[in-house]
């Protein structure tokens, strides 16, 4: 755990619902309800799930744009969970966010120079050759013409605007970047450019990413590890290869089967999993396993005992009583349900990260932890 840059433990965010004059609380939307993961320096963690599953809220909690209800966020050795805005200010240089909508994330009244230079001004950072020079260097880094310094956002296309947003994010050389749906507002052809830019920048500047997306192919392209969220919880967390090739959680299976295949011949070969019904309301989520209302494998236990997020194979955590593609020794882990704390599961995940590529050899070792 020493090399993890960001550690999120049992993070919760409940939005209260109030009623009447006295603002009596009548309920809460459990947008994020007990999310735990670690991000190792230099890696990319993908966070996927359908609309309303709490991905974006998780990102906003990490950047402290909203106040967590419970849990713990540790960044680079600092507990920032409830740190005051004044004390967190210096740390904000190291955690930056790329926003989803390039049309809304750039102030239409500011020039590109002012937008990308804002981090220097807000943080009071002085650069050797002046802010303008620094800004122009960053513009060049993200593939924009430094001559565009004096232009306004409305003169740029969506992809260029997103590059401006990325330039602003990079201005202060952050360690961690939370990318909230960085490409979902862009055309597919532009998506590839921006995703590749993000990858190049990661290699060049030694960045760590948390990429929030609903597009599984984008996540597959960019992530080292992927966490799948459903209704405010992580249901599966694994390295990219094992998640996409042998998904264990039924929900992940359903998600992956929904990815369109551009080849009609191959499309016929695949069995598409169609989930019944809608996502239940986060206001009143189903008890125990939150997916049991839509799961075709659900049994009685699924609505009574909540499956913990367990490591069933090296670096492959899943929260399910009846995982698919589980290794032969997986049964051991299932019977041990509840005995393993979230902390333990995390450590198991961390240990798995330390030795990537161990794959089949390390099967079942995690269940012993």
């Amino acid at each position: 755990m020493t090399d993890s840059l960001l550690s999120v433990q049992n993070l919760q965010k409940h939005f209260p619902i109030t009623k009447g004059m006295l603002k009596r609380q009548v309920g809460a939307v459990k947008a994020v309800d007990g999310v735990s993961f670690d991000v190792v320096k230099g890696e990319t963690l993908g966070l996927v799930g359908e609309s309303g599953c709490g991905k974006t809220t998780t990102g906003r909690l990490i950047t402290r744009l909203i106040e967590p209800t419970g849990g713990k966020i540790v960044f680079d050795g600092h507990d920032i969970t409830h740190m005051s805005q004044g004390r967190i200010r210096p740390l904000r240089r190291d955690i930056q966010m790329i926003f989803q909508d390039p049309y809304s994330s750039l102030n239409p009244r500011h020039t590109v120079g002012a937008i990308v230079g804002a981090p220097f001004r807000i943080q009071g950072v002085q650069t050797e050759q002046g802010t303008k020079k620094a800004v122009q260097e960053i513009l060049e880094l993200v593939g924009l013409n430094p001559e565009h310094y004096n232009r306004y956002p409305h003169e740029f296309s969506g992809g260029q605007r997103q590059r401006i947003g990325i330039a602003r994010t990079l201005a202060l050389k952050p360690k961690l970047i939370i990318a909230d749906e960085p490409v979902s507002a862009l055309d597919v052809s532009i998506q590839a450019q921006v995703v590749n830019l993000l990858e190049d920048l990661q290699n060049e500047l030694d960045l760590t990413y948390v990429v929030i997306a609903h597009d599984l192919s984008v996540v597959r392209h960019i992530s080292d590890r992927v966490a799948v969220m459903y209704l405010g919880k992580i249901v599966e967390l694994a390295d990219r290869k094992s998640l996409y090739e042998s998904p264990m959680h039924p929900y992940t299976n359903a998600l992956l089967s929904a990815v369109p295949i551009p080849d009609p011949k191959r499309r016929k070969d695949r069995e598409r999993i169609r989930l019944q019904g809608d996502v239940p309301s986060p206001l009143n989520p189903p008890p125990a396993c939150r997916f049991h209302t839509r799961c075709w494998k659900a049994q009685e236990i699924c609505s009574q005992v909540e499956p913990p997020l367990l490591a069933l194979a090296t670096g492959h955590q899943v929260a399910c009583h009846f995982p698919e593609n589980a290794p032969a020794s997986g049964d051991v882990a299932v019977t041990g349900a509840g005995a393993v704390t979230a902390e333990g599961a995390l450590q198991a995940g961390g240990a798995g990260d330390a030795a990537p590529g161990e794959g089949p050899a390390g099967k079942g070792t995690a269940s012993a932890s």
Partner: protein, 328 residues
């Protein structure tokens, strides 16, 4: 670009020069510049703006203009009045010296009174608008940005102000306030009083618009971006939000000015404005009512009010179209 084709073996000079010029020309147009270009194309708005500028110049240089004709707005010309009918001897009294003719009864020069009237009218309208905009913007941004209880209190206050019987209050206040108060006397006190009454009770119109705009701006991601960079409240309000609020504030100010001109005229007409003998358009109309058989007395101050209000409204509409083309 045809030159290199004609002589391909010659060194191509024009192309790099053109490229260099192009690079130098990369200077973005701000939204303000674009709005100005759009405004320039709107002939009606430009006409309105020219009239507005003309009126302001008239107000500023009133003593010079009136002096050029050798008149004084308060000077009686009883010798030019027919004592039996109270009307000017030749009906209107219009002559090269008295462009707009003479007042009945005492024979004051209408032209110089209309010119001086522009001073009071525009001064009060501008200052009252300034006061409304200042209070409205401050409270509107505060309500929109902080939300919650602050928003509820300010919004309810706006509702109270909008329901206030302003005209009755103004008449009552004019009766109560003595000739000397707050260290001010005479016209200065009256102008200050009118500015206060008109300006202080009109802010909710601006306040509501600014609040609504702030509410929608607050949800934009660039505000979140500034917050995630560690920006404090004042930075977000002044650097991120206010530049986006300038357009609506400017539009509603230009549209508030004519309504304030009308309101000042109404108050003067009712006799609670600036006191005679200081000339005001509303006061002149009020005097003219008694002499409705001598229409030119009513015509010129009435036209002055009409032209002023129309010019400001046309300019304001054009400004709105230029600054906010989507709102049409």
């Amino acid at each position: 670009m045809t030159a290199p084709l004609d002589a391909p073996d010659k060194p191509v000079d024009p192309a790099p020069a053109a490229a260099g010029a192009g690079a130098a020309a990369i200077q973005g147009r701000s939204l303000g510049q674009i709005a100005w270009m759009r405004l320039k194309r709107d002939k009606v708005a430009i006409a309105g703006a020219l009239v507005v500028i003309f009126l302001i110049l008239v107000a500023v240089f009133a003593p010079l203009i009136v002096g050029a004709f050798g008149q004084d707005p308060t000077q009686f010309n009883s010798d030019l009045i027919d004592p039996s009918t109270m009307a000017p001897k030749d009906g209107t009294g219009i002559s090269p010296a008295h462009l707009f003719g003479l007042e009945p009864l005492n024979g004051r020069d209408i032209f110089s009174r209309v010119v001086y009237g522009a001073r009071i009218s525009l001064l009060i309208a501008f200052l009252a608008t300034l006061l409304s905009v200042a209070i409205g913007t401050l409270l509107g941004v505060t309500a929109g940005y902080f939300g919650g209880l602050v928003d509820s209190i300010i919004s309810k206050t706006m509702d109270v102000f909008l329901a206030f019987p302003l005209l009755v209050f103004a008449i009552a206040l004019a009766g109560i306030v003595p000739d000397e108060a707050f260290g001010l006397t005479g016209d200065t006190l009256r102008v200050a009083l009118l500015v206060f009454v008109i300006g202080f009770f009109n802010w909710p119109y601006i306040g509501r618009i600014v609040r609504g705009q702030t509410l929608s701006l607050r949800e934009r991601e660039f505000v979140d971006a500034a917050r995630s960079l560690g920006a404090r409240g004042p930075y977000i309000i002044f650097r991120e939000m206010l530049p986006n609020l300038v357009a609506p504030i400017l539009i509603y100010s230009t549209l508030l000015i004519p309504s304030n001109v009308l309101f000042e005229a109404a108050l003067s007409f009712l006799g609670v404005g600036v006191r005679p003998p200081t000339p005001t358009w509303g006061g002149m109309l009020s005097d003219a009512v008694r002499f409705y058989t001598i229409p030119h007395f009513m015509f010129f101050p009435g036209m002055a009010i009409f032209v002023t209000v129309l010019a400001f409204n046309l300019f304001g509409d054009g400004l709105r179209d230029a600054l906010d083309p989507k709102a049409r």
